[in-house]
């Protein structure tokens, strides 16, 4: 297959409602020539458009649902794709309303960078909106690199002093969250200033425009440099049920690399063997790495099924983990409700032993002893699983360090989890 190696940048927009997230994405797509003429025509013709005559409501490029257009808000995540000379982009437009935070978390979990928008004209004395804090917090605990875009600069006449005030509060917010590396960029999404082109930017701003900042990111991490993790999706058989039958393990390498002859272990049972064959439909490989969908064969017959994870010999397992949780479901957590934890392809019954603290979104302080978890809460909890899970910390291995909780009765995905330590 083609070996053109392109950089992939996946970013999500975040921030308070009406801070201009969908308009920004429309602007980026429009100015980077990623729109086709009938798509432009359809937003010119759109019902409910908010733009002045002759202008386009750029938000309508991603607000694709009827109810979104009627209400002029974003309800669920939209995915768009475009390519510049430097990178391929997956753009994820996420909603700003608190009510739709779970959709924002969905978008953020599939991104590497969060562009957190702030409406400069609505910030007085540097006081940030609650949703700005919430989204920055979610983006940070989900491991995203954060870029703050200070929008609607035209409404404050590109005032440097006002910008500096906003900048100072964004830096304070970042420090509170423990973020060291941030970018802050002033823009006007509606006119496009400093988004894709650097037009109309006053001399006090010397930095790059937003698209340049995004193009420079390379957060599409090299998971290949982490320890080997291979969640087994399916067991495949060759030669059917004959004596010569051989079992193979189909999956996608979550992290690390594997070579022929390498030792692998089944994390939960600590049985080990060596790799006898690495196979795809197209070829037999001697080596494979993170991101590749392959089938592995071991030298010895091991007891392996879907849900097992093949690892390098250093993997630890545990029944007790401390983890960050974003509670997404409209049903609050209930002690007597049964939940399942899914990590990789493994599922196990789980219970929340203790809620260590819930974050207060107004001052980001940690409220202790609160034994409730309601929708949109971000909490630190102690979990006990029935079967052991892999004890990878999310900060070092975001692939296996991530899990979801499922309500056994409603089948809803109720929480996103990130392992802190165990």
């Amino acid at each position: 297959m083609s070996m053109s190696q392109s950089k992939l940048v996946r970013f999500v927009t975040a921030g308070n409602v009406d801070d201009g997230k969908s308009t920004l994405i429309g602007r980026i797509l429009h100015d980077s020539k990623a729109l086709l003429s009938d798509q432009v025509q359809s937003i010119v013709n759109a019902r409910f458009g908010r733009a002045d005559a002759g202008e386009m409501d750029l938000a309508f490029l991603t607000d694709g649902l009827e109810s979104e257009r009627e209400q002029g808000i974003t309800i669920d995540v939209a995915y768009r794709y475009f390519t510049t000379q430097r990178a391929s982009f997956i753009v994820i437009d996420a909603p700003g309303h608190e009510q739709y935070t779970r959709n924002m978390v969905t978008g953020a979990s599939n991104a590497d960078i969060a562009v957190v928008l702030v409406d400069a004209s609505r910030i007085h004395q540097g006081h940030l909106k609650v949703q700005t804090r919430r989204h920055a917090t979610i983006a940070h605990i989900l491991g995203l690199k954060i870029v703050f875009a200070v929008n609607k600069m035209d409404l404050i006449d590109w005032s440097h002093s006002h910008y500096q005030q906003v900048e100072a509060s964004l830096i304070r917010l970042s420090r509170t969250l423990g973020i060291e590396d941030i970018d802050i960029v002033p823009i006007n999404a509606r006119s496009g200033d400093n988004v894709v082109h650097q037009s109309a930017v006053p001399s006090w701003y010397q930095g790059p425009c937003l698209l340049q900042i995004l193009e420079q990111q390379d957060k599409a991490t090299d998971f290949a440099d982490l320890p080997f993790r291979f969640p087994v999706q399916r067991v495949v058989r060759t030669n059917g049920h004959t004596l010569a039958a051989k079992r193979g393990y189909a999956g996608r390498i979550a992290s690390g690399q594997i070579r022929l002859g390498d030792e692998v272990c089944v994390a939960t049972s600590q049985q080990c063997s060596r790799i006898a064959k690495i196979e795809t439909y197209d070829q037999i490989l001697t080596h494979a790495q993170a991101g590749q969908s392959i089938t592995l064969y071991t030298q010895d017959d091991l007891d392996i099924a879907r849900g097992d994870c093949l690892t390098s010999s250093d993997a630890r397992v545990t029944n007790l983990v401390v983890a960050d949780l974003c509670w997404l479901d409209d049903q609050a957590w209930q002690d007597q409700q049964r939940y399942i934890l899914r990590q990789g392809t493994a599922s196990t019954p789980v219970r929340i032993q203790t809620v260590l603290h819930v974050r207060d979104m107004h001052d980001l302080s940690q409220v202790r002893g609160e034994q409730a978890l309601a929708q949109n809460d971000i909490a630190l909890v102690k979990l006990q699983t029935q079967s052991p899970i892999i004890a990878d910390e999310f900060a070092t291995n975001p692939k296996l360090g991530a899990f979801i909780l499922i309500n056994v009765d409603t089948n809803q995905t109720v929480a996103a989890g990130m392992i802190r330590n165990s």
């Binding site: 297959m1 083609s2 070996m3 053109s4 190696q5 992939l8 086709l36 003429s37 009938d38 359809s42 013709n45 019902r47 490029l61 991603t62 694709g64 649902l65 009827e66 309800i75 669920d76 995540v77 995915y79 768009r80 794709y81 391929s88 997956i90 959709n103 969905t106 979990s109 290949a224 440099d225 999706q233 399916r234 495949v236 060759t238 189909a250 996608r252 690399q257 070579r259 196979e279 795809t280 439909y281 197209d282 790495q289 993170a290 991101g291 590749q292 969908s293 089938t295 879907r306 997404l328 899914r342 990590q343 392809t345 991530a402 899990f403 979801i404 499922i406 089948n411 995905t413 996103a416």
Partner: protein, 302 residues
């Protein structure tokens, strides 16, 4: 340790699609692969063979036949099904019309929307719980909003305002009886990715996709084919042009574009320069109104 390299764009997409196909199969009691004979479903079948190798593809192909198909598409469909002994199930919109569950405003009306009814009837009849489809997010703004594992309630309806969270690449495929999932492994592919992949993998397609001489007539901005279902209207003049189809669907609402591109590589080159989206250039049913696709999907469309 060997130094890691970067997977190519297409390798990454292929690997992701294979992963999604395997997740769907592993979490499903009775999956089916929606196969229309179009380019996206041809790519999907190709990927499914890779995903389940070395085992044979054991998922049946399901075609919702509108009875308004181009002949080339039907013969291609049958050829694909024969060559791999894949099980092909055909559900006919004609039968839904006969039993009264589909009522069309006129005999020649487009049957694209009616496919939803026939699809839901087939799902019920065969007990399918997961339907793998080749839809892509870049096709339409409602599709751009859809999850990879897209939940359908017991009415077969998509409820865009309350989609399940879908975190990282952990797909929750749990269902209650009577519900189903539509699973879209090609969600993150663009039209250009599809053609690049067809070129690289030499995937066969119906001849309709490649430039050929055809009698057409002008209808607004579109060229419409002269077919038994879409005869030349009085007062219009037929012209024979070199055309190809960018999508293949119901004959009454699918239009070709002028082109000399006779192989996949030439089509890829044209697609890169194109200024109209594939549905915008070829589909009359999506022009009805701004939310045409969303409304169809809420009724059970794929």
């Amino acid at each position: 340790m060997t130094h890691a390299w970067r997977l190519s764009h297409l390798d990454r997409l292929e690997s992701e699609a294979i992963y999604i196909l395997r997740e769907a199969a592993a979490q499903s009691e009775r999956p089916a692969l929606l196969f229309s004979g179009g380019k996206d479903s041809a790519v999907l079948v190709h990927l499914a063979r890779k995903a389940f190798y070395p085992e044979k593809l054991s998922i049946p192909l399901l075609h919702i036949d509108t009875g308004h198909n181009f002949e080339e598409v039907i013969s291609f469909r049958d050829k694909v099904a024969r060559s791999f002994q894949d099980q092909l199930i055909i559900a006919y919109v004609e039968e839904s019309i006969a039993c009264g569950s589909v009522r069309l405003p006129s005999p020649m009306a487009s049957r694209n929307g009616a496919q939803a009814v026939t699809l839901l009837e087939a799902i019920k009849q065969y007990g399918f719980d997961m339907l793998l489809g080749g839809a892509r997010r870049d096709e339409d703004k409602a599709r751009a909003k859809e999850r990879v594992f897209s939940h359908r309630d017991t009415f077969g309806a998509w409820t865009p305002k309350s989609q399940r969270p879908e975190l990282w690449d952990i797909y929750n495929g749990r269902l209650h009886a009577g519900e189903n999932f539509r699973v879209f492994p090609l969600s993150n592919w663009t039209e250009i990715d599809i053609w690049s992949y067809i070129v690289c993998e030499q995937i066969a397609l119906p001849d309709l996709y490649f430039a050929h001489k055809r009698a057409v007539f002008k209808d607004g901005p579109l060229w419409r084919p002269v077919t038994p279902l879409t005869p030349l209207p009085l007062g219009k003049k037929a012209e024979t042009l070199s055309v190809r189809f960018r999508t293949v669907g119901d004959m009454t609402c699918t239009c070709p574009v002028e082109s000399e591109a006779s192989d996949a590589a030439a089509i890829l080159a044209e697609t890169r320069l194109c200024t109209l989206s594939e549905r915008g250039a070829t589909r009359m049913d999506d022009k009805v109104n701004d939310a045409a696709m969303e409304r169809r999907k809420k009724e059970g469309y794929f």
